[in-house]
């Protein structure tokens, strides 16, 4: 009854299912991408699920940023107030922490990238 081609279609359809589930039903409020913006340099993008530590050279000195288990945070900053470190872990779409004196911001955006700008 089924031809070989039908199995091919069914196979690919099943293969697509998890992707479609995540894309169409996934929780939009959880972030997926980390954007690091640095003054006078192009932005850098990382996956929120790619564990790593990143050193960013800003205006004052180096920021150390850690991505771990779907979260991101500042762990070292050359500024006086360390507000960026106090912000702690970011994980949801639209969350942002800034090391203004060093000209570095870290933000999390979700699948649907809901915000074009954050008024903070």
């Amino acid at each position: 009854m089924f031809k070989r081609a039908d199995y091919v279609v069914i196979f690919f359809a099943l293969l697509l299912l998890p992707y479609l589930y995540v894309t169409l039903w996934g929780n939009g409020s959880y972030g997926e991408q980390v954007t690091i913006r640095i003054a006078n340099q192009p932005p850098q993008h990382y996956s929120l699920y790619d564990n790593r530590r990143i050193t960013i050279e800003g205006v004052l000195g180096d920021n150390l940023i850690e991505i771990k288990g779907g979260q991101v945070r500042f762990i070292e900053a050359p500024c006086q107030n360390k507000l960026c470190i106090q912000s702690g872990w970011l994980r949801h779409d639209g969350e942002l922490a800034a090391c203004l004196p060093n000209g570095v911001t870290v933000s999390v955006s979700g699948r649907d990238n809901r915000f074009d700008a954050i008024n903070f």
Partner: protein
């Protein structure tokens, strides 16, 4: 594979692969790269984030470079106590002399006088002495303490107000030597206006210029409006969002932008000219207006006015879309803004609608 196995089932294979291909193309369409160009600048002591939609990269880069130069010029000219135009004006006013203004200076001071009067002097760019005493312009706040109460009292008692100024053509005089101009409460709003104007001159019609809490936008992101998130004043997330595809400014003033803590008390940078101390009772205000300068001045005035008087001040300043978050987290909001804002958090905050 032999020749025959390729040719025989070809029509059906083509259909299968064609269908799969079409499906993948459709899915791919969702993540198609948008012609969005983004760049961040460090100027005016803050980060300025510029997003441009639908212009080619060379145009965007050229325009942004010009904006960068303008921002540096603004900082240099209008810094209250670094050698520049404003410092020279302040020196003359303090000496009781007449100060000559250029077109930009005349515009800024004239707008400052009008807005200060409308706000009942809550927005008061004449309190440069007080602002300097608090020292919020410095980046180093470690071990910072509030100034001596007597010094604050002296500044407040001298009643520095914009009404002491007389502006004739490009000539400015002051009847009160205590007046020291500090444009900090509306300079960034003006800066985003200038930046947008420059982008327009380069033929850019869809853009956002966001200098921290000071944002102005034009146009849209293609078929979609721009989506703006307003930061939760006590978190890292977004408290509310709104969409826009017209030319307007969205400006937020908060107690979390610049502050230090001393003996458990938070001292932020929005100083009430009546007391000489940081304004109490409010954690953030957001104002939407046609231009950044007006919205910036108004967001400061509403913050100082506080939860009981902010709406009267908004009306006096001609502001229709505004909200204030008080120290308990209650959102006080005008009906006009309520109609277009979306609260992002669950449970939604307590909302006090005013009209």
């Amino acid at each position: 594979m032999t020749e025959s196995t390729i040719t025989r089932p070809a029509p059906r294979r083509l259909t299968v692969w064609g269908l799969l291909g079409a499906l993948l193309l459709t899915l791919g369409g969702c993540t198609e790269k948008q012609p969005l160009y983004q760049q961040q600048l460090l100027a005016l002591g803050t980060l300025i984030d510029i997003s441009i939609y639908g212009s080619d990269e060379t145009t965007a880069q050229t325009a942004i470079k010009e904006v960068q130069g303008q921002m540096e010029q603004l900082h240099h000219n209008w810094h209250p106590w670094q050698p520049g135009k404003l410092m020279e004006i302040n020196r003359k006013l303090a000496a009781g002399e007449e100060a000559a203004l250029d077109d930009e200076g005349r515009f800024l001071i004239n707008r400052g006088m009008t807005l200060s009067q409308q706000s009942g002097n809550l927005f008061n760019p004449a309190v440069g002495g007080l602002i300097r005493l608090w020292g919020f312009h410095s980046d180093d706040w470690s071990g910072k303490q509030p100034p001596a109460a007597a010094d604050i009292a002296t500044q407040v008692a001298a009643h520095p107000q914009m009404s002491a100024l007389t502006l004739e053509e490009h000539r400015l005089r002051s009847q009160n030597p205590a007046v020291t101009l500090d444009l900090g409460a509306y300079a960034k709003g003006y800066a985003v206006d200038i930046a947008i104007k420059t982008l327009r001159q380069h033929g850019i019609n869809n853009a956002i210029v966001n200098a921290g809490g000071n944002l102005r936008l034009i146009g849209s992101k293609g078929k979609q409006p721009w989506r703006i998130g307003i930061r939760d004043p006590r978190g890292t997330g977004v408290i509310a969002s709104l969409e826009s595809n017209s030319d307007e400014a969205v400006i937020t003033s908060g107690d979390y932008e610049r502050y230090f803590e001393h003996q458990g008390q938070r001292y932020h940078h929005i100083i009430d000219p009546r007391s000489g101390y940081p304004a109490r009772g409010v954690i953030a205000t957001t104002v939407i207006a046609a231009d950044g300068l007006t919205a910036d001045a108004a967001s400061t005035a509403l913050f100082i006015a506080g939860p009981d008087h902010w709406y009267q001040v908004a009306q006096a300043m001609g502001i229709k879309e505004a909200m204030l978050i008080d120290e308990h987290g209650t959102v006080h909001i005008t009906r006009a803004l309520m109609q277009r804002i979306h609260f992002e958090q669950k449970p939604a905050p307590t909302i006090h609608l005013v009209d």
